[in-house]
Amino acid sequence: MRLMQWTRRGALGAAAGAALALGFAFPAVAQTPPGVLVVGQIAEPKSLDPAVDTAVNDFRILMNVYDGLVRYKSGTLEVEPALAKSWEISEDGTENTFHLRDGVKFHDGTDFDAEAVKFNFDRMLNEDHPFYDTGPFPLAFFFSAIETVEVVDPLTVKFTLNAPYAPFLSNLAYPTGLIVSPAAVREHGSDFGRNPSGTGPFRFVEWRSNEAVVVEKNPDYWDGAPPLDAVVFRPITDSNTRTAEMLAGGIDLMVEVPPVSLSEFQNTDDYTVHEQAGPHVWFLILNAKEGPFADKRVRQAANYAVNKKALVNDVLEGTAEVAAGPTPPAFAWAHNDDLEPYPYDPEKARELIAAAGAEGAELTFYVTEGGSGMLDPVAMGTAIQADLEAVGFDVKIETYEWNTFLGEVNPGLEGKADMAEMAWMTNDPDTLPFLTLRTEAWPENGGFNSGYYSNPEVDRLLEEARVATDQARRAELYKKMQVIVHEDAPWVFVANWKQNAVTSDAVKNFQLEPSFFLLLDDVVKN
């Protein structure tokens, strides 16, 4: 029996030790402090240098630390003044002169002026610039239209473009156009990304790798100091863990709530679920060059055959809306509201397929396992396969990991596949159609028109819209383009994603933006 006595003593000891450890642990599970907002992010940021970053996840931090010359008006994708008070565009559209706000200082105490603006764009665009080596700057091509940046006087800066370029202003509102402190870049060189300094409502405090990025209130913010004392951005890659942290009170704000977890936060006063449709479109590229989809009727049939409502409501649990055409409704000024989504009509689809003689056609369908903006691509691919088989196609799915998938799809579908999933999120209505629908954008010309759609009228409308500086004229051209593309059906238009976020009941004045940026300068936490 002595053995049992020993283990009993041992068990008692172990239990006491465990209780002690747990007892000590309790205080650590405190709620987040008042005035400090803890945000659950989806990944560790790459850098806090806006010229270097490309991911929405990193933009969420950047937009609170920096300002651009211009920004999107709250709740829209229309540009309004920020660090620039006003601007003029020359008659021919190539000279853009900005008048800068007076008295603005970077967080490091240096002045924001025209020299700083010039430094920012020269650093990204000019290979001979002494700080060009703080790159690479992957999205610098957003500003490749810039020929020169001139300092007219300390508060006036002039951009000369090599050709009129309508999306220039909205590109300036994009995070790549945020203005960094030249003094901080000179001091830290390529470590600037971990020692950022901007003019924004919050200033950088510390970055603990894989744990948190902490920023604090900038009391001298030119647009009024924010109510929050500090914001902590925590990277939590696994969405289930992020949900658990939200439920346990370890974070106050959670972005990108997985559809299956939404019900945890609905129908309760403890949380608020926020939703906002953004400039996102999820579609199927159809190979219009060869195979059954070379016939417009078969492409239209695919649009009728896919039950988009079921995809959006059942697979995506209402986290997206049915897309009507190539331009997301979030671009309110450029979106053609008369356009209706293709209805779900398998009968009509069968008729069109019969008319085209494509009954029983075999289709190869590229599906990705994940990827930026792709939502739930495997489940969606499977549901689409079932819909297409129901109208008589024989669909074979090939699944690829995201980067491999891009390597297969971007060079074009010819000889490989009939259709592929794709999603884009852009900041200007020009970007997506210009890069994916023009004849000039076929893969061999360096574009993303992987399905080889070609319509001279669409080409003409898009070329004209790109150089038109009058927004009303641009809107008219984009609306015409949408009607033609809808009819030609180079894609199956599937969904526009609604970004979501959950806040705890302590958080007030939070709202999601159609730009998908996270702006925290008005947020209050008790």
């Binding site: 002595r2 053995l3 020993w6 283990t7 041992g10 450890a21 747990l22 000590f24 642990a25 309790f26 650590a28 599970v29 405190a30 987040t32 402090p33 803890v38 990944a43 560790e44 790459k46 850098s47 490309t54 790159g135 690479p136 992957p138 999205l139 091509f141 390529s190 990304g193 971990r194 790798s209 894989n210 744990e211 902590v232 925590r234 990277p235 939590i236 890659t237 696994d238 289930n240 863990t241 658990a244 942290e245 439920l247 346990a248 009170g249 370890g250 990827g371 930026s372 990991e401 980067n403 491999t404 891009l406 390597g407 297969e408 971007n410 884009w424 999120m425 360096g446 574009g447 993303f448």
Partner: protein, 315 residues
């Protein structure tokens, strides 16, 4: 002895070189490239070429391998482009976190595994044996990531006894107590399967020893049962238990990948998964080479220790 250690160290060099070739080849051969991963939708051939040039990926493969190897020999593992910081800083920081997690789990599973094995062997077919055997079967059958998620739901979300994730509290964190509160759930979740395996093998190793003559002799001489079990039998059984512990150490280390993801533990496993998905070539290569080098050194240490106990191995 010194000669033996030197010989083992020299023999590690071709192994490590082989590892560098394999990991470099894999990262070069897998489809998808870092520029596409960085640019996503904007990966035009023109942009890809520009990024590749700036990352130095436009040079011939063989040249790239020797540049990488040469830099590494001088201690320069390069810069991770997905994290924009030196690879070696990231790897050391992350490896440290993994060691804390895997080390704790290894201690837990060795201790409780052997304890359970010994008790159930000593009480063969008794209620304690049956209870332990059942618990062990249960433990082996539950996938560790599932157990981890269940523990989060119960102890962190419902009861709020322990924090959900991370290694230290964001506010007022730091210190051993904070670390232990964050470590408890992942360490337990990670050790459960290994505990079961060790318990099973310890039980059978003990049963075998307990049937031997010297145990009967000890009992006949009137040695107390507790002393027979813990001193005579366990010491003899350890000869077959120790190799199992060595294998389980490897399993715990590789199992840490899932647990690190579930509990957002900032370890090297999660780092490698993220790095592979973003095609962060230098981070993957540096991380794998570092972990492999540690593993090789660990094996040499084990061999040396064994040769100290059993001089026959040295020849």
């Amino acid at each position: 002895m010194g000669g033996y250690i030197l010989k083992r160290l020299l023999s590690a060099i071709p192994v490590l070189l082989g590892i560098t070739v394999i990991v470099f080849a894999i990262m070069t051969l897998i489809p998808g490239d870092p520029a596409t991963a960085i640019l996503g939708s904007y990966a035009t051939p023109e942009n890809v070429a520009r990024i590749n040039r700036e990352l130095g990926l436009d040079k011939p493969v063989v040249q790239r391998y020797f540049i990488w190897l040469g830099n590494m020999l001088t201690g320069d593992f390069g810069t991770s482009f997905s994290l924009d910081r030196p690879v070696i800083d990231e790897v050391l920081e992350r490896f440290n976190a993994t060691l804390v997690l895997a080390g704790t789990s290894f201690v837990l599973c060795s201790f409780f595994g052997i304890l359970a094995g010994v008790i159930s062997a000593a009480r063969q077919y008794g209620w304690a044996d049956k209870a332990i055997t059942f618990a062990v079967l249960l433990g082996i059958s539950i996938p560790s990531f599932f157990l981890g998620m269940m523990m989060i739901l119960i102890f962190a979300v419902r009861l709020q006894w322990l924090p959900v994730s991370g290694m230290y509290a964001i506010y007022g964190g730091g210190g051993l107590v904070d670390l232990i509160s964050h470590l408890t759930m992942p360490a337990i979740a990670l050790s459960v399967v290994a505990t079961g395996v060790i318990a099973r093998l310890s039980r059978s190793a003990m049963l075998e020893v307990l049937r031997q003559d010297f145990i009967r002799t000890a009992r006949a001489k009137g040695v107390g049962e507790r002393r027979v079990i813990w001193r005579h039998a366990l010491r003899a059984a350890m000869v077959s238990i120790i190799p199992v512990l060595g294998i389980q150490a490897g399993f715990v280390l590789s199992g840490a990948v899932y647990i690190e993801i579930v509990f957002q533990w900032p370890g090297v496993g999660r780092m490698l998964v993220d790095a592979i998905l973003t095609r962060d070539i230098l981070l993957v290569q540096g991380g794998v080479v570092f972990v492999a080098a540690c593993y090789v050194m660990f094996n040499i240490a084990v061999d040396v220790a064994q040769s100290l106990l059993d001089p026959r191995i040295r020849t």
